[in-house]
């Protein structure tokens, strides 16, 4: 007991020794939330590419950073309430005799499935690729759209 008082170790609740940890975890979460508001870059599924998904009452907007990938090397599919992105990033080898100083850009294949939170209308999906950013506009299914209810 003397040891505990001397070093100021928090008085752990013996019944639930993890409550202190739980409290710390919650504080950490609050702190992160305050820094990024509701955006938490870094918490991702671990599958290439990382995506940003936003919505408005009519649509879902799915965006991914895919620099150096041409539209022909990209495959976007919509099924049910899933969107699948797959493709290959090619980095053509340089002509002639060149010596590399740095090589950070990577080539390879990728494939990812994204579950959308609601039903979609697969017929109306539109995708565009500009400046290395893929943008997929996914219309929500009629029944998934929020409906304004007037009070009679």
């Amino acid at each position: 007991m003397i040891y505990r008082r001397m070093f100021g170790i928090p008085n752990w609740n013996v019944r639930s020794p993890f409550s202190e940890l739980e409290r710390m975890r919650r504080q950490m979460g609050d702190l992160l939330e305050r820094v990024y508001e509701n955006a938490l870059p870094g918490l991702h599924a671990g599958v290439f590419p990382t995506i940003n998904l936003t919505e408005d009452p009519e649509m879902y907007y799915l965006r991914a950073e895919l620099p150096g990938i041409s539209a022909g090397d990209l495959d976007v599919q919509a099924t049910g309430n899933k969107m699948s992105l797959s493709g290959e990033r090619k980095i053509p080898s340089e002509k002639g005799d060149v010596q590399y100083h740095r090589r950070e850009r990577e080539a390879g294949k990728f494939s990812r499935v994204i579950n959308l939170p609601g039903d979609i209308d697969p017929e109306g999906v539109k995708a565009s690729l500009a400046d290395g950013i893929l943008e997929v506009r996914v219309p929500k299914a009629e029944k998934a759209k929020p409906r304004q209810i007037t009070i009679a």
Partner: protein, 136 residues
């Protein structure tokens, strides 16, 4: 290139820069991934800068220091509500010191699909010139 074809791309975190000199406007700053290679006549730099448009890209070379700055356009309309945010959008910034003397007049830059290709030709070495002496 055979093993490169079979490779699966892995997620790499966008590298956020701590304090890139003097920042006047708030916002995240990221380090673009680059390839740099050299041939006998030129140095080529390829940089991944997704979302950056030509008018928002700045390339500066002075006193052998090459600075790349680019600003990615806004990510969608303000009316959109975020659902899942996995990557941040902001500026790109990277600086390199060049050891070779570059022929500034012949620098070429091309931005395509979010990839910058910068060609920096080396200064041509003074070609030996033969001087003929004509007899008077």
């Amino acid at each position: 290139m055979t093993d490169a074809e079979a490779k699966e791309l892995k997620v790499r975190e966008k590298q956020e820069l701590a304090a890139p000199g003097e920042q006047t406007r708030p916002g995240a700053v990221y380090t673009p991934d680059v390839d740099i290679f050299e041939s006998d006549t030129e140095i080529t730099l390829l940089a991944d800068m997704p979302g950056v448009k030509t008018e928002k890209l700045n390339i500066d070379l002075r006193d052998d220091v090459l600075t790349l700055t680019g600003e990615a356009g806004s990510d969608g309309e303000s009316s959109e509500v975020p659902v899942v945010i996995e990557y941040g959008v902001g500026k790109f910034y990277r600086q390199f010191t060049l050891s070779e003397v570059i022929d500034q007049a012949k620098i070429m830059a091309e931005l395509k699909d979010g990839v910058l290709r910068l060609t920096l030709p080396k200064v041509e070495k003074a070609a030996p010139r033969k001087i003929t002496v004509s007899a008077g």
